[in-house]
Structure formats: structure tokens, C-alpha cells
């Protein structure tokens, strides 16, 4: 790389040339510095691999299934990636999705209300849980790992306990015959078939969330705050960044996405199992890390999280198309996580070397 990059000759007489921020970077170098580059390379590799290994992987209908699988992870991976750029974790994200669906369903049913009422109440609850996580973090100064681990366990118990207490069973009662269900289903769980490809509405939600998150990160003040808080919180606070508000906002972002995912679960299946969602939080983190987020914060991108989710979707379904023994799935996942992270680190080093 260094050989092809012409060295910038400092031109005498112009002060600006000494200022590294005003150096012109070539487009190639700009690409190399993107956090998601490693993930994109990985995604292409995984795609080619399964295209060769599994003949049914390249069918149009299969592509719809893979995209759907990716979108269900991707919707959550976006705010989780933002949170990690902000230097924090959320281990309660997986069960929060189930909580969101449970609240929505049970509120509508018990109150015999239009299901949209339940949907909105559920949004308030998930945002409140996000605020709770952020508030506890900023107040107690405990690591977010511990705080959200507590939230995760409490939510798991609440999901089971409250559902059993209210519904009398471990799953919710059907709300499919209630007013507003059809319109809510259109918003959260509809699908269109275009040329034999079955596309679910979650893909739209996913693309929209990635777009909004990317805009926030790269084009707004809040985005700068996120990077600053994740990079060096004390320094950020010293220059006037509202560190606590940023953190609470990031957790509310996770709450919002969990609400979307939860409503999708509810309106595609109509009944929610209270014990689900445990373990998904790690999958969201994996997607964000494969996508180039640093576990230490301050670096990463929303697009990267989408590529990470896509890799995850391709692998989880590709193993089925390739007719492999599913026992090996977790092994491949772990190996892929390590490889992707190594590739990211390597690419980042190269990019920094060619500055």
C-alpha cells in the first residue's frame, strides 16, 4: 500500500500544509478508513463461499429468506452498534424484544383496547426501560455490563412471571381478532412478493434505521457526541459534551429498536412465548463487532452493523442450504467472529499506516 501512495510533499510557503487535518486524502484511502470495510470483504467472501457450497443458496426465494433473517438481527444491531460506539453494552436487548411484544399483546387484550393502544404503551415501556438502563449507568457509575446484566435477569423473570400471572399460561392470548390488528400487521409484519422473492417489511425498517443512524453519526452534533463519549468520556465532558444525556439517549435507541422487533414478533405470530429472547443480545453484539465496532468504544458504523447482520443471516441459513450438520453452526459463528475481527483490525492498521 505504502508504495503506491505518493508521499505528500510539503510545499514551502503554505502554512496549511503542516496541518494534517487539511491534507487531501485520496478516495482509495477514504474507503480504506471506513470501519465497515473489513466486514464488506468478509460478506463477499461468505457469499461466494455459500454460492459454491450450496446450490439452493442462489435461488431468488432463498435470498428473501436470508434477507429476512438478516433484518430481524439487523434492526437490533443498529442501536447496539451506536451504543458500542458510545462505549457501552446492553445485555438486556434480547429479552427486551420479548418484553415489548408481551406488553403490547397483554395490554391490548386485558384492556380490550384497539391493538394500536397496546403498541403505543409498549413503546413507552421499552423507552422507559432504556431510560432506566441509562439512568442507572450514569448515576451509579457501575459498568454497563453489570447494570444491563441485572436488567436482563429482571426482565427475563418479569416476562415469565407477569405473563403467567396475567394470562394464566406461559404464552399470551391471541389478539388476532381485535380491532387494529390488521393495520398493525401491515406496518410491522407484512410482506410483498416481487419476482418470486418474498420480501418482508422488516427489511424496510432495517434499511430505514441504518439510514437514520448513519445520518446521525456522520452529519449531526449528536453523532459527534456519541464518538466523543465512546472515545474519551472525561475529555468529552470537559469540552461541553452532554455525556449523560448521550448515554441515556443511546439506551433509548435500543429500546426503540426492541419495540420495532417486538411488534414484528407479535404481529407475525399473533401469540408471544414469554421465555424467548435469551441469548439474542449476544448475537446483536456479534453483528456489531463483525461490522467493525470496537468493544472499547469510539469507533464503528451503522452500515457495518448491517453488513454484520447480513453475514450472520447468510451463515445461519447458508449452513441449512448447504445441508451441514447444525451442531457445527456455533463453531462456524465463533470462527467467523474471530476472523472478521482480525480482518477489521488488520485493515484498520493498514489504513492508519497509509495516512
Amino acid at each position: 500500500m505504502t508504495a503506491t501512495a505518493p508521499a505528500q510533499a510539503p510545499t514551502p510557503g503554505r502554512k496549511t500544509a503542516d496541518d494534517e487535518r487539511l491534507l487531501k486524502t485520496s478516495p482509495l484511502r477514504k474507503v480504506l478508513r471506513r470501519p465497515e470495510l473489513g466486514a464488506v470483504v468478509g460478506a463477499v467472501a461468505v457469499f461466494l463461499f455459500f454460492a459454491v457450497a450450496a446450490d439452493s443458496f442462489l435461488r431468488a426465494s432463498s435470498f428473501g429468506t436470508v434477507l429476512y433473517a438478516a433484518s430481524t438481527i439487523g434492526i437490533m444491531a443498529v442501536p447496539v452498534a451506536l451504543l458500542m460506539i458510545g462505549g457501552e453494552f446492553d445485555l438486556s436487548a434480547g429479552v427486551l424484544v420479548t418484553s415489548s411484544a408481551l406488553v403490547s399483546s397483554m395490554f391490548s387484550y386485558q384492556m380490550t383496547a384497539n391493538v394500536w393502544v397496546g403498541v403505543l404503551v409498549s413503546l413507552l415501556v421499552t423507552l422507559a426501560i432504556g431510560v432506566f438502563n441509562g439512568f442507572m449507568l450514569t448515576r451509579t457509575k457501575l459498568p454497563s455490563f453489570i447494570i444491563t446484566l441485572g436488567t436482563f435477569l429482571m426482565l427475563t423473570g418479569l416476562n415469565l412471571g407477569l405473563t403467567k400471572m396475567i394470562s394464566g399460561t406461559v404464552s399470551t392470548k391471541t389478539i388476532g381478532d381485535m380491532e387494529g390488528f390488521e393495520s398493525a400487521r401491515k406496518v410491522f409484519a407484512s410482506q410483498v412478493t416481487i419476482g418470486g422473492v418474498n420480501l418482508k417489511v422488516t427489511i424496510l425498517w432495517w434499511v430505514a434505521l441504518v439510514g437514520i443512524a448513519t445520518w446521525i453519526l456522520l452529519r449531526t452534533r449528536a453523532g459527534n457526541w456519541i464518538f466523543a463519549v465512546g472515545g474519551e468520556a472525561d475529555a468529552a465532558r470537559a469540552v461541553g459534551v452532554p455525556v449523560n444525556k448521550t448515554r441515556i439517549g443511546l439506551y433509548m435507541g435500543v429500546g426503540f429498536a426492541a419495540w420495532v422487533s417486538g411488534q414484528h414478533l407479535l404481529f407475525s405470530f399473533d401469540v408471544v412465548q414469554s421465555g424467548e429472547g435469551v441469548g439474542s443480545e449476544l448475537i446483536y453484539i456479534i453483528a456489531a463487532v463483525i461490522g467493525g465496532c470496537l468493544i472499547t468504544g469510539g469507533y464503528g458504523s451503522a452500515i457495518g452493523s448491517a453488513v454484520g447482520a447480513f453475514i450472520f443471516g447468510m451463515t445461519s441459513k447458508g449452513i441449512v442450504y448447504a445441508e451441514w450438520d447444525p451442531d457445527w453452526f456455533k463453531f462456524f459463528l465463533g470462527a467467523m467472529l474471530l476472523l472478521a475481527t482480525l480482518l477489521n483490525a488488520w485493515v484498520r492498521k493498514r489504513a492508519e499506516a497509509t495516512k
Binding site: 429468506t65 433473517a69 404464552s171 405470530f269 401469540v271 424467548e276 441449512v320 456455533k330
Partner: protein, 337 residues
């Protein structure tokens, strides 16, 4: 450098010692070699039919590394080998993932599908898509109530309520008065039905005890505590074979007189039955669930046969006592019972 070399030498010496010991200290009983001999004795031929090579996919709600589902799978594989069928298997304990796996098999255009309906609502749309695509579906193990509604050919499994009732009857026969039903999976509807069924036919008192099935020491400690605090319990019913063993240990620790009985079977349960450590086991023959599902799909494709006359085909409950255990122990060891 010298230190490195002595290190290498030491490692070499240890390796040689281990190798030597393993060669010299051969066991003439059990172990891998006995297993290989048994396999050779039961040498399996190829397929018994000359129908085209159809593909059948099976998607269950099993978690990772589950003994029960391993037996179901081996039954299905045995039938597939006999019927010249390519058998695919996938599983996930999350409803959404399970539905997606079914979709993947529909994309693959399999010739038949076997699914479990532990989470019927999550699977409803996926099963509908399969039948719409003209793929025959058979449900196994759980979902006897929904199977027909969803458009499946037939359901193969055990009715949990009936199985529970059989346990209640058996406890009465043994003159038990105070029983404990140990549920190891919070939120499992089938488990609730088992205990409710047993309570219905049992003349004595029966109470539920919830334990965390993913944590064996905790299971044992919970049962132990219960047996210590309630001295009049004279029967403990566990809902899975691995938990029977924990209950036996708990009983010893608590110095209780209770009889331990269990649902399902494994090698340990079979030997414990013979040693009188367990009273009886209720088997639902998981091997049969996998085997019959594949075989019935083959029959449906070959001869348009459907079994059960619109009713579930029951594979249980089968009460197993000391008399049957000797024969079954051998089968549990090879992973078919």
C-alpha cells in the same frame, strides 16, 4: 536453548508414557471397542426400496445438544436409510428461528417436511407456506391439537395429558399418597399438562416443584430441600430422564423414603430401574416419532397412504418397570430408546 530442549524431552517422555499406558492397559470390557463390535454385528445394509431419492427435512424446537432429540433423529435417519431418503435436520429453540428454518427447507424444495409445533403460533404461517408449495407435512412430538388445523397429514407423538394420567394411575397402583411433580422448564405447556394429568387420576396429594433444568446441581439442591422440609412425600416424579438421577441423589442426601419415578428413558434410568433406585419410567418412544414420521412421508409419496384416520398417532405412554428394563438397557446404550 538447553532449557527448551529439556522441555521438549519432558513432553516427549510424558507422551510416550501415556501412549504406553493406553496400549498396555487395555480394557477387555466396554469402551469404544465394544461399541465398534456391536456396530459390526448390526451391520446395516443399504436401502430396502427402489423409489427415487426423495429429500425430507426435519425442523424441531430442540435446543443444542439434547439427548431426547438425538434419539428422534437417529430413528428418522434409520428410516431414511431404509427408504432411500436424503434426510436433513435443523433445530432452534426460538420460534422465529424455527419458522425461518422451515422456510429454508421450502426454498430447497424438499419432498417432505417434519416439524414440531411446540410454539404453534410461530409455526402456523410456515406450515401453511409448505402445504401451499405442495410439500406434505407431518408434525411430531408436540402440537396434536393444531396439527390437523394447520394442514398436516398426521401427528405422531404422545398426548401429554394422557401420559400424565397414566402416571397418576400407576402411583395409585403403588399405593402412594403424597407426590411431588418436578418441572424443569419454566413455561413449557407440555410439562404443565403432564403434572395436571397426573394430579387428575392420582388419589393422593400432588404438588408442583419448579426447578432450573439448565443447572443440575440446583435441581438436586431444590429437590433435596423439598424432601427435607416435607417428610411425608413418598413419590417424586421428574419430567426428564437426566433429572431422575438428580432426584435419586437428592433422596439419598435427604434420607427420604420417597420412590423416584420419571418420564422418558436413558441408559442411566434403565440401569437404575434394575437396581430398584427408580420405581417406573414413562416412555414416549422418541425413536418411533422420528422413524414413523419419515416412513409415513415415504408411504404418502409412494402410495398416498395416511395413517391415523385424522387422529394423532400415539407413541406413548408406555410404563416401563424393572421387568422391561434389562432388555431396554442395551437399546438405550446404542441411542435408540
Amino acid at each position: 536453548m538447553a532449557r527448551v530442549r529439556t522441555g521438549v524431552r519432558a513432553v516427549g517422555a510424558v507422551l510416550a508414557a501415556v501412549l504406553g499406558a493406553s496400549l498396555a492397559g487395555c480394557s477387555s470390557t466396554g469402551g469404544k471397542r465394544a461399541e465398534e463390535r456391536a456396530e459390526q454385528a448390526a451391520a446395516q445394509g443399504g436401502s430396502a426400496v427402489n423409489t427415487p431419492r426423495w429429500t425430507i427435512g426435519m425442523v424441531t424446537h430442540s435446543g443444542d445438544g439434547d439427548t431426547f432429540w438425538d434419539i428422534v433423529q437417529s430413528g428418522a435417519e434409520q428410516a431414511a436409510a431404509k427408504d432411500n431418503i436424503k434426510f436433513l435436520y435443523a433445530h432452534s429453540d426460538e420460534g422465529q428461528q424455527q419458522a425461518q428454518l422451515v422456510d429454508s427447507y421450502i426454498d430447497k424444495k424438499v419432498d417432505g417436511l417434519i416439524v414440531t409445533l411446540a410454539k404453534p403460533d410461530a409455526m402456523k404461517a410456515a406450515v401453511a407456506r409448505a402445504t401451499k408449495a405442495g410439500i406434505p407435512v407431518i408434525t411430531v412430538n408436540s402440537g396434536s391439537a393444531e396439527s390437523k388445523k394447520f394442514g398436516a397429514l398426521t401427528h405422531i407423538g404422545q398426548d401429554e395429558t394422557i401420559a400424565g394420567e397414566a402416571v397418576g394411575d400407576e402411583l395409585d397402583k403403588r399405593g402412594r399418597k403424597n407426590a411431588l411433580c418436578v418441572l424443569h422448564e419454566q413455561g413449557n405447556v407440555g410439562h404443565e399438562q403432564r403434572c395436571a394429568g397426573a394430579r387428575k387420576t392420582f388419589d393422593g396429594e400432588m404438588q408442583n416443584l419448579y426447578v432450573d433444568g439448565t443447572n443440575m446441581p440446583d435441581v438436586q439442591a431444590s429437590i433435596e430441600a423439598k424432601l427435607q422440609s416435607a417428610k411425608d412425600i413418598d413419590a417424586v416424579v421428574t419430567l426428564g430422564a437426566p433429572f431422575a438421577d438428580a432426584a435419586v441423589k437428592a433422596k439419598e442426601q435427604a434420607a427420604s423414603k420417597a420412590e423416584i419415578d420419571t418420564f422418558d428413558l436413558n441408559a442411566k434410568v434403565a440401569s437404575a430401574l434394575q437396581a430398584d433406585a427408580l420405581g417406573f419410567a414413562v416412555d414416549q418412544q422418541p425413536y418411533l416419532q422420528g422413524y414413523e414420521a419419515v416412513d409415513l412421508l415415504w408411504l404418502h409419496k409412494y402410495n398416498a397412504d395416511v395413517l391415523g384416520g385424522g387422529k394423532p398417532v400415539l407413541t406413548g405412554p408406555q410404563i416401563i418397570t424393572k421387568q422391561d428394563a434389562a432388555e431396554l438397557e442395551e437399546y438405550t446404550k446404542r441411542g435408540t430408546r
